[in-house]
């Protein structure tokens, strides 16, 4: 009851617009790992492209084939095309990008480009 009353008087929280698929980004020194929950797709329906420091995820989640005689009780799972572009913290080596899809979670490992890695410069003493 308390909960119900208080919820009436609190304004809705500002929510960011949810985008599909949702992404989590894990950055490291050598590579960036991006994980994304995309349940129930065929990995062949996902298109990944990397250009410099930009990753694009494109794909389709197919709707149910509703056969004759089937009636809906609930329909909460979304379907349709999805498209997302992510700016990575640094340029990546597009040739070494690896992706796998396990239990509905897409994992993309993007190694940092050799040319983009920080270089240590030794200061020479004056001769």
């Amino acid at each position: 009851m308390q909960r119900e009353v208080s919820s009436i008087f609190t304004l809705p929280r500002p929510r960011r617009v949810a985008s599909f698929p949702p992404l989590n980004i894990h950055s490291g020194d050598e590579d960036v790992i991006i994980t994304s929950e995309i349940p129930g797709i065929d990995p062949a329906d996902v298109d990944l492209t990397v250009t410099g420091d930009t990753l694009t995820i494109k794909g389709t989640r197919k709707p149910h084939e509703v056969k004759e005689g089937l009636t809906w009780h609930r329909r909460e799972r979304g379907s349709g095309d999805f498209f997302r572009t992510v700016q990575l913290p640094y340029a990546v080596d597009a040739g070494k990008v690896q992706a796998d899809y396990v239990n509905g979670v897409l994992k993309i490992v993007l190694p940092r480009a050799e040319a983009d890695k920080p270089r240590k410069i030794t200061v020479k003493p004056a001769s």
């Binding site: 349940p39 609930r74 799972r77 979304g78 239990n103």
Partner: protein, 136 residues
């Protein structure tokens, strides 16, 4: 048909903590999004539970309440900092009251690509129940 399609851009909903009682595990529990369909012989249920594998899923049918649960092992990247998050990782829980009888022994469930599919065959007694109405 287009307008009956569900939008993809929906955030995962959390199971609220019931007043007074807390879960023993300090872990977020999400409500999986489901599609439920029915035909003359079966009830079909599909639930999105990304991150869960077939070993972590638990389905129970007790007193006409179908409960689906899944435990998800979180992933950690030791050499990485999680710098940006759009989704949380946690377990799944949802329960449905079934208002029909089903063949309990013939319920089939499988887990594929983070989607749980359950087929519940209707009990024979329920299938044939058209009752003719006599004119008075």
């Amino acid at each position: 048909m287009e307008d009956t399609k569900k939008n993809l851009n929906v955030e995962k909903a959390q199971v609220p903590e019931t007043a007074g009682a807390e879960r023993t595990k300090d872990r977020t529990v999400f409500i999986p999004a489901v599609d439920i369909l029915e035909d003359a012989n079966n009830l079909y249920l599909y639930a999105d539970m990304p991150g869960a594998n077939d070993k972590g899923v638990n389905i129970t049918l007790e007193n006409d309440v179908l409960t689906i649960e899944a435990q998800v092992d979180g992933v950690s990247f030791e050499k990485h900092n999680t710098t940006y998050t759009e989704y949380g990782i946690g377990d799944y829980h949802r329960a449905f009251t079934l208002n029909e009888a089903f063949e309990r022994d013939k319920i089939e469930a499988k887990m594929k690509n983070g989607v749980l599919s359950i087929v519940l065959p209707k009990a024979e007694a329920v299938k044939t129940r058209s009752i003719p109405i006599k004119a008075g």
